[in-house]
């Protein structure tokens, strides 16, 4: 496996859906190619950092306006039926 093929298979590898022979080939390549190893490592960290970041809260005023709009829609639907 060459470097270009590693990049093409990167997403499948990180998602754990690469078939076992291909994964073995890729990991053998990683064991001797520092550049690819760093790309795989930093790409994995990129996903993890996003996954571990703080959730954005739903502000209470935003939530209240949503609920008010929904209740208004419920009422209007009830009137029209």
């Amino acid at each position: 496996m060459n470097c270009k093929k590693v990049i093409l298979e990167l997403t499948s590898y990180l998602d754990g859906i690469l078939d076992s022979n291909m994964r073995l080939d890729l990991e053998q390549h990683l064991s001797r190619c520092t550049d690819c190893r760093l790309v795989v490592d930093t790409c994995r960290k990129t996903i993890q950092i996003f996954c571990n970041s703080e959730p954005v809260p739903l502000p209470e005023d935003v939530r209240q306006r949503l609920h008010t709009a929904l209740l208004d829609r419920f009422r209007r639907n009830a009137k029209s039926t």
């Binding site: 996954c51 970041s53 959730p55 954005v56």
Partner: protein, 230 residues
């Protein structure tokens, strides 16, 4: 990687939710303690006119839809509009939902469309869902910036600063890559669900996801490379 659920720029939020009665002035946990597998039952009840069932669906997904709207539009007011429109439209068109996908997937599809419309209105000449013809940040440029980030590069930054960085880099992504990344990696949807929502093939989702991940990696490199700490 186990797909996770997303935050403002980030992901993995959504604790197993308490369920709330929407119409109450002070929301209270729903006594029935409905489990997540009952989505189809709630949808059926809502279709039959049970507004409490629809409220339960709203309570279940409102945070996720708001977060998705924030992440796509990068703007709180737009995200609020996206969330409201997504829920109101899904309620109005509930009889059209055939149940051949999860309700949540259908809801996300509506929200993504609303969010992309917001972006197009804001930047009519810049937002396209077509593949870019040229891509200077694509696979070919991967090996231009290869540096070690060390074991926990995010710890170089305070949480607020890190959130700003993540917001900034995801906002720089072309919307077609941003949305693919958000749906697959952030919302934890499958490749097939993402393809269904975006109306593209699974192969196209994989291609966009690869490019999104590589671009984000490249954009984060300047913040996280080890040499920055030395």
């Amino acid at each position: 990687m186990v797909p996770c659920q997303m935050s403002v720029t980030g992901l993995c939020a959504q604790p197993p939710g308490a369920h709330w009665i929407l119409s109450a002035t002070d929301p209270k946990p729903l006594a029935s303690a409905i489990v997540r597998d009952d989505e189809a039952i709630l949808v059926s009840a809502a279709k039959a006119g049970d507004t409490a069932a629809f409220e339960e669906l709203v309570n279940r997904y409102e945070r996720k839809i708001f977060r998705l709207g924030m992440n796509i539009t990068q703007n709180r007011e737009d995200a609020e509009d996206v969330m409201q429109d997504a829920f109101l439209k899904s309620y109005q068109n509930l009889d059209r939902f055939q149940g051949d996908s999860r309700f949540y997937t259908w809801l996300v599809r509506i929200a993504v469309n609303e969010a992309l419309m917001k972006l197009r209105k804001r930047r009519p000449n810049q937002v396209s869902l077509d593949e870019p013809l040229t891509d200077s940040d694509g696979e070919d440029s991967v090996f231009r910036e290869i540096e070690d980030w060390g074991p926990s590069p995010e710890k170089k930054f305070a949480q607020v600063e890190l959130n700003e960085i993540l917001n900034s880099v995801i906002g720089e992504l072309d919307p077609i890559f941003r949305v693919a990344f958000l749906l697959r990696d952030a919302e934890g949807l499958s490749t097939e669900e993402t393809a269904q929502i975006l109306g593209i093939s699974s192969a196209a989702v994989k291609s966009r996801l690869l490019r999104a991940r590589l671009k984000l990696r490249q954009k984060l490199n300047k913040y996280f490379r080890r040499s920055e700490t030395q």
